[in-house]
């Protein structure tokens, strides 16, 4: 490996063998004075043959193209619609929130631990404060439960004191150190051997995919557009090469005036393809474990521990849907597509949860899955206008506390676009999303007659049909699941899976063998048994 430092960026080139060595090198380079970030050279992207895509017809045009339909991209699309500019969001998957967003624990961090002075720290505290209003406008669940950092004894005092000081510097509201008994008054499920805690009342949770969907639906209701299954392969540039003229996609070329790179795990690829690579994404995997709803409604808040006891990852919490979620763990992964649950990560998450909560065991696990965080080597958000391309804004390196920060990220990104393009305000913007409450939340006495398809989560046929024909149409089993919760319960689709497939096939007027779980290649049924 060789390293060259240019304009405050350490470029790593040459043969890369051991991925952990690369990650360690990237991290240590960022610790050196004068180095802001590190990037792995990507000659493969710089030399990509785009002739096939350049030969394709122009299929669309707009003012701003947002690349990536995660919580960041969806939030940015909505924020941009507060201005008089056309917005088109491109997502390579078959639905929004299919990447890092869907496998996130949904914690709305208070901001006590982000390093003071970092972009993360500022956007986290700002974003947290915006969630109340956003939740009420968009109609997603936000449970502001507060969270604890648990400490076992005197050896944790310095850590907790450090967090308290950092929290105050970051202007986190309401933070205080509580003794064990006072903490257990707030959180009775907390293990008895926890001596004192840092209490941060502004922390809470959301379902991240629910937020992303709600943001994008509202963006669409305000005139934004969305193309799914549309992967960006490269860019065409103006004659002088100073700006992007077209976004080249698997659907064809899209003419635009500005590009926002919110491509999550692939934001580095987009940057290099746009001739502006100055950071790399090194995926950090995390395992999340979900427990049966009926298990404990006992946990009210979020429990974490001082990093001394466990050096990485999150602890037990309740999701807004009332299921208990533990995790995530953290491990570096060379492959961005590697979403496998490793045994070590699974064990780590369960052992950590068991230590924090009394009366818990792993017997009520209903599912577990893994996601990859889109980390950069400087471990901070990269949100800025390109220095080389005059119509490109990067929103990259969005990892924890990315969900908490996302409302502030969207505002910042929109402001950056406006620095380059002065679109005036959109007076007709309506921040309130039109939507219906789910059937399961209606009073049993008030409900009419509907066919229940998913019995674990009480999801009706009407809800599934509405999801399929919704503002962002659900085209896959997973997309139906994210919108309605069908198949998300304790039987994990064992009962309703075949019914959901039948409804999808009927509504989309396709054969059941053409229905996919999560996009092309994930068909569940192979063939008919009888001609």
């Amino acid at each position: 490996m060789n390293v060259e430092i240019r304009d405050g960026i350490a470029y790593i080139g040459g043969g890369l063998s051991d991925w952990n060595a690369v990650v360690n090198l990237g991290h240590s380079l960022c610790a050196e004075p004068g180095v802001n970030n590190a990037a792995i050279e990507r000659p493969d992207l710089a030399e990509r043959d785009l002739s096939a895509y350049l030969a394709m017809d122009d299929i669309d045009e707009t003012d701003v193209v947002v690349i990536g339909g995660g919580i960041s991209g969806c939030g940015i699309a909505r924020e941009l619609r507060k201005r008089e500019c056309g917005v088109l969001l491109l997502e390579k998957n078959s639905d929004v929130a299919e990447g890092t967003t869907k496998s996130n624990n949904g914690m709305i961090h208070s901001g006590y631990d982000s390093k003071h002075g970092s972009l993360k720290a500022r956007l986290n505290v700002e974003g947290n404060a915006l969630y109340d209003e956003l939740a009420s406008d968009l109609g997603f669940r936000f449970n502001q439960t507060g969270s604890f950092v648990c400490a076992y004894g005197a050896e944790d005092e310095a850590t907790i004191a450090g967090f308290l000081e950092n929290a105050k510097k970051n202007s986190v509201p309401g933070v205080e150190v509580l003794d064990g008994n006072r903490s257990r008054e707030i959180e009775p499920a907390m293990a008895k051997d926890i001596a004192f805690t840092l209490w941060t009342p502004s922390a809470g949770y959301v379902e991240p995919y629910e937020v992303a969907l709600a943001l994008m639906e509202n963006a669409i209701q305000n005139g934004a557009r969305l193309r799914l299954n549309c992967e960006v392969k490269g860019f065409a540039f103006s004659e002088g090469g100073e700006s992007i003229s077209k976004v080249l996609t698997t659907h064809g070329a899209i003419c635009c005036k500005h590009v926002v790179n919110a491509a999550g795990l692939y934001a580095d690829d987009m940057a290099f393809l746009a001739r502006d690579g100055f950071f790399s994404i090194h995926p950090r995997g995390g395992v999340l474990v979900i427990f049966d709803k009926r298990k404990p409604s006992l946990l009210k808040t979020y429990l974490g521990v001082t990093p001394k006891n466990f050096t990485k990852g999150g602890g037990p919490m309740m999701t807004p849907q009332g299921t208990m979620l533990w995790g995530p763990s953290a491990d570096e992964r060379a492959d961005k597509e590697n979403l496998s649950v490793d045994e070590e990560g699974l064990r780590f998450v369960i052992e950590k949860g068991v230590r924090l909560l009394d009366g818990m065991d792993s017997g009520d696990v209903i599912t577990y899955f893994a996601g990859n965080r889109a980390s950069t080597f400087n471990e901070d958000f990269v949100i800025c206008n390109s220095k080389r391309i005059d119509n490109l804004t990067h929103v990259a390196g969005i990892q924890s506390p990315g969900v908490a920060s996302s409302p502030a990220i969207a505002r910042m990104a929109s402001a950056l676009v406006m620095e380059r393009k002065g679109y005036g305000p959109n007076e007709r913007f309506n921040p309130v999303r039109r939507h219906k409450p789910p059937f399961r939340e209606l009073d049993a006495r008030e409900t009419g007659g509907e066919n229940v398809i998913c019995r674990c989560e009480t999801v009706t046929e009407r809800e599934i049909v509405e999801a399929i024909g919704g503002v962002i149409p659900a085209r896959t089993v997973d997309a139906v699941k994210r919108r309605t919760r069908a198949g998300m319960g304790r039987c994990q689709g064992g009962f309703c899976g075949s019914r959901v497939i039948r409804i999808l096939a009927r509504e989309l007027k396709i054969d059941p063998t053409e229905v996919t779980v999560k996009g092309p290649g994930t068909n569940l049924l192979i063939s008919r048994t009888r001609g």
């Binding site: 009926r294 597509e337 590697n338 979403l339 496998s340 649950v341 490793d342 045994e343 699974l346 696990v365 209903i366 599912t367 577990y368 899955f369 049993a444 006495r445 008030e446 409900t447 009419g448 007659g449 509907e450 066919n451 229940v452 019995r455 674990c456 009480t458 009706t460 046929e461 304790r490 039987c491 994990q492 689709g493 064992g494 009962f495 899976g497 075949s498 039948r502 059941p512 063998t513 996919t516 779980v517 999560k518 996009g519 092309p520 290649g521 994930t522 068909n523 569940l524 049924l525 192979i526 063939s527 008919r528 048994t529 009888r530």
Partner: protein, 426 residues
């Protein structure tokens, strides 16, 4: 909201619910049977194979035939049947003190509308569900093509679709064994059945008829440790396990397949029961019941796989009848009975029912044993004294063992010491 009044409301139209409804009608109770599917029959409708009804009808029937026979009888009876209807909530005692309409059931369904059913007694017959993948502890990716055996059975036998071309089956429960044969006959190549325990989870004769007959390998003391594939399953890693059921390093083998079928256990479906405040038995996974299948909340009864997982449908039908008789007695306004406990003794993991009425102690007893024992003796003790014994050439965990306690057979009604059922070996 529509209101419906009945003496007895039966929740679930599978074999337990149908037999309960039939017996309830036979005893003169005004009965409503609620089924969420379009047809009565429950899981039997996807069991096209034979081997049902041997005990009750002394002949081999397919699951479909067994279901149709009961369904025809139900439709000929006075029971009012609500299909495509889901019970949303049970509310014990909601409708006041009048015994005949004390319990409330909120239901929904496009065809039947939103309804409140008021009934004097409720028989829970919701059946059971399959344990999902995650409870088998498999790690790896999450591609399409990991399904429970029951789901595969439904796709193939009811919907008419094949969910793969080459399958690996994890777990040797009866549904997994039955599906090994069915998949083979339908053209899916079954690479093998992997069972973490040292003995099969299903009945030995199913191993003989479904695996041996088709040369499908059964690998005991081995398991699937990891699933591979990003979009569709591309294969699984299997490994041998040690006595503590941990995979043995170095024994891992990659088996290519595009379908992983899970047959790793069944769980009684008791979410409605729990919400209604009914006390549950952690061993059976069903409500704590008496010998007329009454649960801890008076007026609520359970029948079939909701009370414990049975291996023969004949027993399921029997418990439906017992529950109907109990419900009719309850409606008759008798005082709440006193009970003596029924305990699982040596080598017995559970006995259903967990208690018997002091006034009417005669009862069928259903139990599972902890291990295989040859030349076993099943013994019932009343207040510690043997009152019944029966020789069994062999008892095995997958095969439910039954006995009948007769008040007259032994020393009469047991007292505070209750009944104990135990298995003695050679």
């Amino acid at each position: 909201m529509r209101e419906i009044t009945a003496d007895i409301a039966v929740v679930g139209g599978g074999p337990a619910g149908m037999s309960a409804a039939l017996r309830a009608c036979g005893l003169g109770a005004k009965t409503v049977l609620i089924e969420r599917d379009a047809a009565l029959g429950g899981i039997l409708n996807q069991c096209v194979h034979d081997g049902f009804g041997l005990l009750r009808f002394k002949k081999q029937m397919s699951g479909s035939q067994y279901a149709q026979q009961f369904a025809d009888a139900v439709y000929e009876s006075s029971a009012s049947v609500m299909t495509e209807t889901t019970v949303l909530k049970l509310i014990p005692g909601e409708c006041g003190s009048k015994a005949q309409s004390r319990q409330g059931l909120y239901t929904t369904g496009e065809k039947t509308g939103g309804a409140l059913i008021r009934a004097g007694a409720v028989i829970l017959a919701m059946g059971c569900r399959e344990r999902p993948r995650q409870q088998a502890g498999i790690v790896g990716s999450r591609p399409a093509g990991v399904l429970t055996a029951g789901a595969v059975q439904k796709y193939i036998n009811v919907e008419g679709y094949l969910p793969g071309r080459k399958a690996v089956i994890l777990g040797s429960g009866d549904i997994g064994l039955i599906m090994a044969r069915r998949m083979t006959l339908e053209g899916i190549d079954v690479a093998g059945v992997y069972e973490i325990m040292p003995s099969p989870g299903g009945l030995r004769r199913n191993v003989a008829q479904c695996l041996d007959d088709y040369d499908i390998p059964l690998r005991l003391s081995s398991t699937v440790t990891e699933v591979h594939g990003k979009k569709r399953v591309e294969g699984v890693t299997v490994a041998d396990v040690d006595a503590a059921r941990h995979p043995i390093p170095g024994t891992e083998v990659f088996v290519p397949c595009d379908l992983l079928v899970l047959s790793v256990g069944l769980i009684p479906e008791n979410e409605l029961s729990r919400d209604a405040g009914i006390e549950m038995d952690p061993v059976t996974g069903g409500p704590v019941l008496d010998n007329f299948m009454m649960a801890s909340v008076p007026g609520f009864f359970a029948a079939g796989n909701v009370s414990a997982v049975f291996d023969l449908v004949d027993y399921v039908s029997d418990t439906g009848e017992a529950a109907a008789e109990g419900a009719c007695r309850f409606l008759g306004g008798e005082a709440l009975p006193e009970y003596v406990t029924v305990r699982a003794g040596d080598d017995v993991s559970f006995v259903l029912p967990g208690k018997i009425r002091r006034d009417l102690p005669s009862s069928a007893l259903y139990m599972r044993v902890k291990r295989t024992i040859e030349n076993a003796v099943l013994e019932i003790l009343a207040d510690g004294k043997p009152v019944y014994e029966k020789k069994h050439p062999i008892v095995t965990p997958p095969e439910m063992v039954t006995a009948r306690f007769h008040e007259s057979a032994g020393s009469g009604v047991p007292d505070a010491g209750g009944l104990t059922v135990r298995i003695l070996g050679d």
